[in-house]
């Protein structure tokens, strides 16, 4: 399968996700889950097809990582909807997935089938998938925090709602840790150093510390405004790590994580 087919798969998936989100909003849970699952499966079929067509994992370029992000967001949206049953959750996860699908449609950044020797490692696939899953998890918790912070209802977030935030951050942070550790083990095999304070690594460490701080702050801190603001700040750091460093003057020409 080639990139030319993306528009078809993307449109079908986006349509399924949007219909799923609309059904969820109307309280038709089973239908919403069913059709959203279908959309995610169609999207996954494209990723698998690309993998076979490229003869390498589609994880090398920024555009390729966005494919995984859209996919994982849709899956996490479904799991969250099933778990906490808020009717708007699928709508938010769909919105984010579709935004990343649109970016890929207008700026694909997927061309070459080649894979440089350093990327030909057993760690490549788990490292990227685990990171993208974590990013999607943190994206979901950021949306949730924004909703809780700015929703019309004047009441504060309940313990249950905050516990959902904590659970998502905990799992997202566990995956950040797994991704970072896999990256370190990979770097040792490829270059002889676990950690070189490359700009990407530095910002990954800052993101990791920021979410870790949230986890440690949370039990003693009930100031919801502060906690939600901290989650959003952490997500900004995550964006810096993912793509922001490409535009950061201090990182120009000094990163080996260029793609």
């Amino acid at each position: 399968m080639s990139w030319d087919s993306f528009i078809v798969y993307a449109l079908v998936s986006a349509l399924c996700w949007i219909v799923g989100a609309a059904l969820a909003f109307r309280g038709r849970r089973r239908g919403a889950l069913g059709i959203t699952t279908m959309g995610s499966l169609v999207f996954l079929a494209f990723i698998v097809g690309m993998w076979m067509g490229l003869e390498r994992p589609p994880m090398r370029t920024m555009g390729e990582t966005r494919l995984w992000y859209s996919f994982f967001l849709s899956v996490i949206g479904m799991v969250l909807y099933q778990k906490i049953r808020y009717k708007w959750i699928l709508g938010f996860s769909t919105l984010m997935s579709v935004v990343f699908v649109c970016i890929n449609l207008f700026k694909p950044e997927i061309h070459s089938t080649t894979l440089m020797p350093a990327l030909q490692s057993v760690w490549f696939v788990p490292h990227v998938i685990v990171y993208m899953f974590s990013y999607a998890m943190m994206g979901a918790v950021t949306l949730f925090a924004l909703y809780l912070w700015f929703r019309k209802s004047p009441e504060e977030a309940s313990c249950k709602e905050l516990a959902v935030c904590d659970g998502l951050v905990r799992i997202g942070w566990a995956f950040l840790t797994l991704g970072m550790t896999m990256g370190a083990l990979w770097a040792k095999e490829a270059w002889g150093d676990y950690w070189t304070w490359d700009p990407k690594e530095t910002w990954a460490f800052a993101t990791w510390l920021s979410y870790l701080l949230y986890l440690h702050l949370r039990p003693a801190n009930q100031n919801q405004n502060f906690l939600f603001a901290w989650l959003i700040f952490s997500f900004i750091l995550l964006q810096m790590c993912w793509w922001g460093i490409n535009f950061l003057p201090s990182a120009q020409g000094s990163s080996i994580h260029v793609y």
Partner: protein
């Protein structure tokens, strides 16, 4: 609440003192030089440091000043300081420049600045006390938390106390010539405890890519030509490969490439390009250090070009002599050779000669603390998986 803010004020004051101390040390001695951390001093220091931590933990009830060293406010303030420093680290260009305020404070080579190292040791010590506390009260803790704290602590201890023992040298091995001296990044020569000899260097390339070139830039689209008959559309042109020579050469007076296995042979394609209005055909080659390259000029002023083929894999077959012993290794990127505390990495080759290179650039790294860090990394992976599995569940009291 008031007591809590007083506690935070105390801790922030402690960190301010640490900052002043770090700046003073930076001013007096420049960047941290870990060269004194070599065996046996590194081992002596680490044993004493660990003993001190255990002693402080054991005596916390008796020694007033130790109380609260690793309580929640302490690690929150320590984590916050590390976050602020890491953000500065990310925003300041790490070029080692001594210019300006950041250069003066050592923040342009942050990982070896006194401020960063002191805060890292501070963070490590709090984490160490917490890890000891976790192990002491393991029944009341989540296993994932115990594993995470302990393994991150082991990694930090190994990275800091082992930093002086790490040796990294670059070795340029020419085919058939033994070599036993490497060069560090600062140009210092280091004699290796073994001798290397490159038997064979092989390089595999991806199929040629053909682009349109308008005199300034290459087209975004390209064709992958993997043999005769391969082709496709490139802009308004339909391109087809009529002849594919994997190893070819062309004498300067000739216009055509011929198949040859001569040193320096390159890839050459005979392409035919047709559009609605015109057609053209001719040789396209990336060229090599010996044979000239060639492009196909099209009637619309553009050219069909073949940039240098991308490298798929390169591999060195190396003999390593260690005393009476001889080992043979196949070394490629991501597949280093191990020899005791040393690892030998494939780093590069003579890129001007490409697949005809007879020089392989290897990096020899000695990392005596590798086993400790490696085990701790795998423990983190286990801790991460456990953390994911327990997720939001709370530890039962």
């Amino acid at each position: 609440m008031q007591m809590l803010s007083q506690r935070y004020r105390q801790l922030i004051g402690r960190c301010a003192l640490l900052l002043v101390a770090g700046m003073a040390l930076q001013f007096l001695w420049g960047n941290v030089n870990p060269s004194f951390l070599t065996y046996p001093w590194s081992l002596v220091l680490v044993v004493n440091y660990l003993y001190l931590l255990v002693l402080l933990y054991a005596k916390q009830d008796a020694w007033k000043f130790v109380r609260g060293w690793y309580d929640r406010p302490a690690y929150i303030v320590s984590l916050s300081c590390m976050l602020v420093l890491t953000l500065l680290f990310g925003m300041i260009r790490q070029d080692g420049s001594a210019e300006g305020l950041w250069g003066w404070m050592g923040f342009t080579s942050m990982s070896s600045s006194w401020v960063f190292v002191l805060f890292l040791v501070h963070f490590m010590s709090i984490l160490g006390l917490k890890a000891i506390d976790d192990v002491h009260h393991w029944k009341q803790r989540r296993w994932s938390t115990v594993l995470m704290h302990a393994s991150i602590f082991i990694i930090l201890v190994s990275a800091i106390f082992g930093s002086g023992e790490k040796i990294r040298v670059r070795v340029s091995a020419m085919q058939g010539h033994p070599v036993s001296v490497g060069v560090t990044s600062d140009g210092r020569q280091v004699e290796l405890p073994f001798m290397l000899r490159l038997n064979k260097f092989t390089l595999e390339e991806y199929p040629p890519h053909i682009y349109l070139f308008d005199g300034e830039r290459l087209s975004e689209d390209f064709l992958v030509v993997d043999g005769e008959g391969f082709g496709g559309d490139l802009g308004a042109w339909k391109v087809q490969c009529l002849e594919y020579l994997e190893s070819a050469g062309r004498m300067s007076e000739d216009s055509a490439y011929v198949a040859t296995e001569h040193v320096g042979a390159t890839t050459a394609l005979y392409l035919k390009a047709t559009s609605a209005q015109a057609s053209a055909e001719g040789w396209v080659s990336q060229g090599s250090f010996l044979f000239a390259g060639s492009t196909l000029a099209l009637p619309d002023g553009r050219e069909l070009v073949m940039p240098r083929r991308e490298v798929k894999k390169y591999l060195s077959e190396v003999e390593v002599f260690e005393g009476e012993d001889k080992h043979v290794f196949q070394i490629s990127v991501n597949h280093p050779a191990s020899l005791g505390a040393w690892k030998i990495y494939q780093s590069g080759y003579d890129s001007s000669k490409g697949r005809w290179s007879t020089t392989s650039v290897l990096e020899c790294v000695k990392d005596a603390w590798y086993p400790a860090i490696h085990v701790a990394m795998w423990t983190i992976l286990i801790g991460g998986v456990m953390m994911f599995l327990v997720g939001h569940k709370k530890k039962k009291k």
